[in-house]
Symmetry: C2
Amino acid sequence: MSDEQTATRGKAARPPLTAVSQMPWSIPRLIDRPVDPLDPEGVARLDAGVMRILADIGVDLQNGDAALALRRAGCRVTGTTVRFDPAFVAEKLALVPRSFTITPRNPARAIPVGDGHLLFGCVSSAPNAWDLERGKRSGDRAAFREMLALAQHFNCIHFLGGYPVEPADVPAASRHSECMAEMLTRTDKVCHAYSLNAAQAEDAMEMVRLAAGLSPGEFAAAPRMFTNINSLSPLRYEGAVLDAAMRFARQGQPVIVTPFAVAGATAPVTLAGAVALALAEGLAVITLLQVIQPGCPVMLGGLSPSADLKTGAPVYGTPEYIRATQMTGQMARHYGLPLRGSAPSNAPVPDGQSMAETSNAVWAALQAGSAMIYHAAGWLESGLMASPEKFLMDCEMLQGIQRYCDAGLLATDPTALALDLLRDVGAGGHFFGTRQTQDRVGSVPRPFLSELRPYEAWHQDGAVWSSERAHRLYPRLLEECIAPPMADAARGALEEFVADRRQAAGIPVDA
Amino acid sequence: MSDEQTATRGKAARPPLTAVSQMPWSIPRLIDRPVDPLDPEGVARLDAGVMRILADIGVDLQNGDAALALRRAGCRVTGTTVRFDPAFVAEKLALVPRSFTITPRNPARAIPVGDGHLLFGCVSSAPNAWDLERGKRSGDRAAFREMLALAQHFNCIHFLGGYPVEPADVPAASRHSECMAEMLTRTDKVCHAYSLNAAQAEDAMEMVRLAAGLSPGEFAAAPRMFTNINSLSPLRYEGAVLDAAMRFARQGQPVIVTPFAVAGATAPVTLAGAVALALAEGLAVITLLQVIQPGCPVMLGGLSPSADLKTGAPVYGTPEYIRATQMTGQMARHYGLPLRGSAPSNAPVPDGQSMAETSNAVWAALQAGSAMIYHAAGWLESGLMASPEKFLMDCEMLQGIQRYCDAGLLATDPTALALDLLRDVGAGGHFFGTRQTQDRVGSVPRPFLSELRPYEAWHQDGAVWSSERAHRLYPRLLEECIAPPMADAARGALEEFVADRRQAAGIPVDA
């Protein structure tokens, strides 16, 4: 790994690519009021439904430690099925912090979660890669690294979720440590770690600690990373996943609990039924974590597909998806929980359909009051593929949303109203040449991918569609991508850690 | 014309195309609260700016009758520049109806404007046509008819704006009557008529009256059509346009006043400056119309592009566009005016860029509280081209928005919560086979254009992207399109009217 890194570091002196004008790294803050699709009676009914699920039906938490902890806390436990008293749930929800900050190895990349801030993450956990030239193929290390480089490069990407694409060519036995090391080395942004089992969770925390050069105490003193877990809807969680989640919680590392309730498949086909189920599943584990580690940072995850009633497959970005997302957000506010939204789509290629679906999903996430938006760049085919072209097309949209959040657009002071200028220019005049207009040139980044010229100019340049423009641009961007600096000690510690894990797995260290 | 119409009517017996599942004709109603980007102080400042423009700078209404009417009403008039007292404007704005209904020749297609209803219209006034096979070309009668057929076919299109595409091959001298006849014959939806001059306005009203078989008194008793006028920003209106608009108003026909203030070109580059200018321009003519015909139906039009600071060309769907649209909507509510929104985009082809931009614009129009959304289907290249492929892709989105408006999605009654079903299915179970899910199959229209299948199924079917799918589908749709029935007397009267206008223009009647 070190040879490549040296090479990458050697590039640091090259000038940045001028073709892509980016907004600087910043944390947008959305001032828009979230959309509340339910009236107060609807909220009360949905809440009553959630509480009935928790109290009467129960959630199967297939983990002995979890069940024991909840039994000791007064819950009714039958096998691993736990039933929760609503007052008990309310008491635990009251412990959840409304906002918190996650600080990665580069403190300048710290992300504030909650309090109106808006954070975008790249596509996560796609098993396949896709690009315009090669089409669909199994994910590999090269594709994984490309996506990491893009995620690091774009300032509108604030964090990394799971592996952007699964590198199937990395030995499974040591993949978690190798991938974690790549993420921590090739980016300096907040990283997610999987909660698949206890050992991997402990390894991930140790690696984040090493990468940041923290003592164990320093590490546990504040959020440094996060994990995300999914339910096995309906009403079930895998035991090993809960084990890992509890370990993160004990170390004060944020846990996002994202039920995967597909309306009409793993959940009732009605939105209220699907959302009530998802909320009950989410609240069950959030309650568990507050029992394990009172006050630990948690989020509710919103991912609300419906089943295509012809095939049963989950579909995204539909009207049902938007409303279910908004309902989830409204209930998250009701319960005082920060929300993680998503930006998925169904389309197999980065075409008009894909962008229409992603746009709907992004707006739904904004309307739901999401603090973090997962899968915001690069997702295709219902999450089965990660694509660099789609990544760039999404980043164009995300930069727009980020600029949309700029409160300066809404200024109404005398300079913004420009009445004196209007009087000077007068009826039939023009503002393009005025100082006020010309002063703006260059201060607002132009879209880097969108075609704004007349048709004829575009046609003369080869009539290149947006997906193809993205396809031509991303290799140039990859050439220019600069790995973030990293202390040699931290780098060495990570390399040693990975070597150790490879050795333990019987994999030659120099492979 | 009559031969073709007979042929079209002969098709009425054929079964509808099963490939496109449509929602039935209905008028959606949006329950979401509009987005208010400005705080009360911002509203007050913007209002004060608008009133200063109207009172101190004035608007050049280049029409003697208009200037005279306003002078008599107490306004200060210098040449054709009119300055308005804020109290006078407020008094006239109070006369504007908050909502009204426009009834076309088929009363079943009446559209309620305002009161939360949401109406979509097709692309208007594109000089060129584009399709995937032929590329860009000057608009012609064939393209004009194709767009009319699609606009009639899709239930999510509630009204027609201006000519969807300009038929340059129709003689200019009689184009207005020929096109109006085609619109009134080939569709039974509410039609727009241009306000280019007095004669054309009078002709259009007469033709709408004839098409509906109304007496002059019946025609003027209620809105039957509408017009839309644009300003010559900054601060000017063409005299002939005002003449036409006043004629529509006197006959009780709705007038949409849409300033075309391009931030950084025909308006200040700042959003507050551009919106204040647009509002002042809009209020000036709305005030005029309320003087001419107190209580006549009017709307404020919102179309808020910014200039690309590299080229000066208007661009749409940007963050600036969204915020300016929302600001305009908030101020329209402040002034008690129904709002017309728009759904434009910049892209030269129906690719990912085009759908991302259109989606942003549609959401902006919804967030602004628009009663009507113009240009909602088929617009490309900043309005310079109309495309059937884009039309279908947009209709897919509009059907989704229409379904999004279905309050049934938000039901929280016991059936929707489905707690008993959840208990029965239990942890680890599945809902796809349940009666509640299966009862939904077929009741919700599936997307007609979107690809929801796995990548492999899509790839095996030829790997067709959404624009190409739309390209293959629209000719099949055109074959199936059914012209609406029309009384022979009305048809004859229209034909006679057009023949008369052609004769007057020296064009052979059998051309």
